[in-house]
């Protein structure tokens, strides 16, 4: 293909700037609030840049962003819940994922359909039963309860994606292990699992993100201040209105999003495949 001529280049750049503007408007709206040290409550004037550039809001957030809870506590809660949920989903889902990837058995096709359907359900579909069951066993308001809730949301998705991971490991490798006298658990543990680990990690990452950015179910299940997560605290701060400077809220947006943005930038293609439910790339 030949190089673009300059006219085409300019037109392309104009179009890209328009899309880029659309992408940046809300992000910039948050950034310029986050670095504004002059805000006492809600913003009262239109500004493109912070009035008083300051990192103060970030320090406030990292110290004590919401009522009596400190940031570390929120972060720890978020991590316990979302990493915990990802691990529970991965560990519990592994055996079914492996069975789907490796064996033929009657009813496999309809079972896969049910799995795919379950992975497509909105979290609210599980809300009623989980609320009732967890209340009955008195786990509802605990972090363990919330971990189980998020694990339930993530489980079908994790099974589906781990299955894809196991499928990408060639069957011949395992068969070679069988010839050397390994049983199927050994073959799984020493061959399939390590080789499928990258895709399992991705599945875990997505499961983690579900818990990390969830707030609505969180507020439904949890009521005590000690068990609030980062995402939940943001929602609560929004609901409380103009009680504290908006710069704090905006800097929380940035602190919370930044790590994910970096991960996404590096893993975009793999994440896309997983979210497209693609199981094998030929």
């Amino acid at each position: 293909m030949r190089k673009m001529n300059w006219l085409k280049q300019i037109l392309t750049q104009i179009a890209l700037v328009v899309i880029g503007f659309y992408v940046m408007v809300p992000i910039w709206g948050a950034i310029r609030l986050a670095f504004d040290g002059s805000l006492k409550s809600r913003p009262v004037e239109f500004r493109l840049f912070p009035k008083v550039f300051s990192l103060e809001p970030f320090f406030t957030v990292l110290d004590r962003p919401y009522q009596s809870v400190d940031f570390c506590q929120l972060l720890v809660n978020s991590m316990i819940v979302s990493i915990g949920a990802a691990f529970v989903a991965l560990i519990l889902g592994a055996s079914l994922a492996y069975a789907f990837a490796r064996f033929r058995f009657p009813g496999k096709k309809p079972a896969l359909f049910v799995l795919l359907l379950a992975a497509m359900l909105p979290p609210v579909a599980f809300m009623t039963p989980l609320y009732i069951v967890l209340s009955m066993v008195q786990l509802r308001t605990t972090l363990l309860g919330l971990t189980l809730v998020y694990a339930t949301f993530a489980l079908p998705f994790c099974i589906w994606n781990m299955r894809a991971g196991f499928q990408s490991v060639s069957k011949e490798l395992e068969e070679a292990a069988f010839l050397d006298g390994a049983n199927s658990l050994q073959a799984f543990w020493h061959i399939s699992l390590p080789l499928a680990l990258p895709s399992i990690t991705i599945a875990g990452l997505i499961a983690f993100l579900m818990g990390y950015s969830e707030f609505a179910m969180g507020w439904l299940f949890v009521s005590e201040a000690e068990t609030v997560t980062l995402a939940m605290s943001i929602y609560a701060m929004v609901q409380s209105g103009n009680a504290q400077p908006w710069s704090i809220l905006a800097s929380m947006f940035i602190i919370m999003s930044l790590p994910i943005v970096i991960v996404f930038a590096f893993l975009q293609n793999t994440l896309l495949d997983r979210m497209l439910f693609i199981s094998q790339k030929k």
Binding site: P26, A99, F103, L115, T128, S135, M275, K282
Partner: protein, 714 residues
Amino acid sequence: MVNNKKGIKLLMVFAIIIVAALAGFIRWHALTTLNVDYDEDDYLRAAQQYTTIFRTGDWDALTETNYRPEHPPLAKIVFGISLLPLPEKPLIVDRPTSAGPNQYLPRDLLRNARITSAIFGTLTAILVALVDPVGGFFLAIHAFTTKYVSQVMLEALPGFTSLLSAFAYIQWKKRKNKSVGWLILAGLFLGLTAASKYIYCVVGIAIIVDWLILAIQKKEVKKAILPILGWGAISILVFFAANPYFWVDPLGRLQETILYYASYSSTATEVNNAGYPFWQPLVYLFSTPKSWQPNSILVAVDPLITIFAILGFKSQIKKQSLYAIWVLIALSFLFIYPVKWAQYVVILTAPLCIIAGEGFNKTILSPISSWFSRMRIKKSESKAVEGNDTKKALPWLIPGITVFVAFTILPLVFGIGVSLTNFNSVSIKDGFGGGIFREVWSGLTGKVKPVETEFPFRDKEVGYIGTNAYPSTMHYLTNSGVLFFNFFWTIVSVTLQTFLGLVAALLLRQNKVFLKKGWEILFILPWAIPEMIGALMWVNVFQPVTGWLSLGISQFGSGFPFSFLNGWQNSSEMQMLVLLIAGVWYGFPFMMLAASAGLKLLPNEVYDASAMDGANGFNKFRWITWPMLLPLLIPAVIIRSIFAFNQFYLFQVFPTGQLTMAGLSYNFFNPSGFFINGQFAISAVINVITVGFLVIFVMILNKWSNASEGVTYA
């Protein structure tokens, strides 16, 4: 073979008889039980005037009589004829169009006129059944149509004649434009339609469009002009002939009518007060009038019929394009026309039901019949299926299935159980103490009868209510517009996301784009930011008073960019627009990445070949890129659609009244919410309904991506 054909014919006759009986029965029930609606008193009064003219033989008065002159007289004259056998009654009083329904009309007059209307309504269903029995069945049970053709409204007669006009045109088309008789009939019926109610003439526009498309395809446009003019002339002649009011001073009276419409649609108080958004006709198609008068409307499955019509639309275009064009033109007209009364949807329900019949055949009947024939073949084959390794799988399957059942299946089954009770936040103690199991078990085993409860449920003890909550919840979903909004949102937001994503991907795909990688990273930002935070960022932009936009406008006046969006919270169209801005922002990067991944798979050779043939950029896209990319893009579109269908956080965060089913379910559930809270059972019902819709989505996904077979893409 001959026997088979005879059998099919017999079956057809049988089906048509059933449709006729069903349509007649449902309309009879409606016409005997429906309350008097707006306008019925007006048309009955008009009919009385004609009855008097027929009785006295004062034919000159015919040219001067047309009560409610905005509508031509034919349908009113027919009502007048139906009153002839009845004893004369004093003329019904004249009231303004904005007056409420007059409940004190003479019952015998009302009944005769309604019966006349219902006869035409039933005939229309029979006509549709001639084309497609399933479509006829749909029209017979279509609740909005039933309501308005069973009242003294001007819908039934033009509905019938407009369909006849379409039929005649199609017959002419089938006979390769040779049989002029059919064309004359088509014009005749169109003229009669116009003489009953103008808006039904959309069928005429549809015929012209269909005709021109055909002529352009055959490159015989010049040849088509004369017949079109002739056909049009016939319909105009018939219109004037059937419209005695226009015999004297036709032009003046035509002008009077047009002026009336112009002023009515822009100034009438009832039109302005209604304040409907432009898509209101779609809301009607996705809802039913059942809640207006539950006892009169026996069947109310209009949304289902609309969904079948959507499913059948594409294949209907190939089969008989006129019906599809008719629906499209009628819908666009109703979008533009500022008056949005519910009865107007009747102008398109006949073709809609034909298309829905096609959709039903495509999605339900033919898969079943092909499944049967495959079963027959399978049975005849030997049972030598490849051996499976169930035994080896068992050690993995047993723990796996146990977990999956415990975490996923049981909660869903439990949810279905809750949906059969009236469990709510007041009966929470009983529910946790085993009340749900007790009630569902005794209900399902027939030990207790479903109890009667009223919504919202506030009973202290859990009670088994069977599936009673399902129909009422379904009606709530349709009548509150939530179901419609959910589908509308899915379609519009995903279409826009796909479009923008594709544009971005195509722009970046060009050779040597300056800062390519930088743009790419920038464009995936919205995807990486958690949905809730992205939504909050947009709230920060759009919030009334304190948002970025509001601040800008209050500081710099209305010259500020995008100031037209100010005050968006006051109209549902603008709310939709703002939600779309945020929703598309969040979703387009995913589509961009999917499109880029697809574009990389397209072979370069084809482009080189087309460059040699001198194809320009657009032609390359239209004939190479698009057709090759589409199959690769469809799984991504379906997955985005499922996400959009389930979208929840955006609506939870954005301060509008718009909700998806997921949001509604959450708000019904939330025991400390501001909504009708703590309705655990209703929330479960909504979730079960949602799962039902998702089954359809996943079936479509499965078909397109073969996801569950493990082979996708490339």
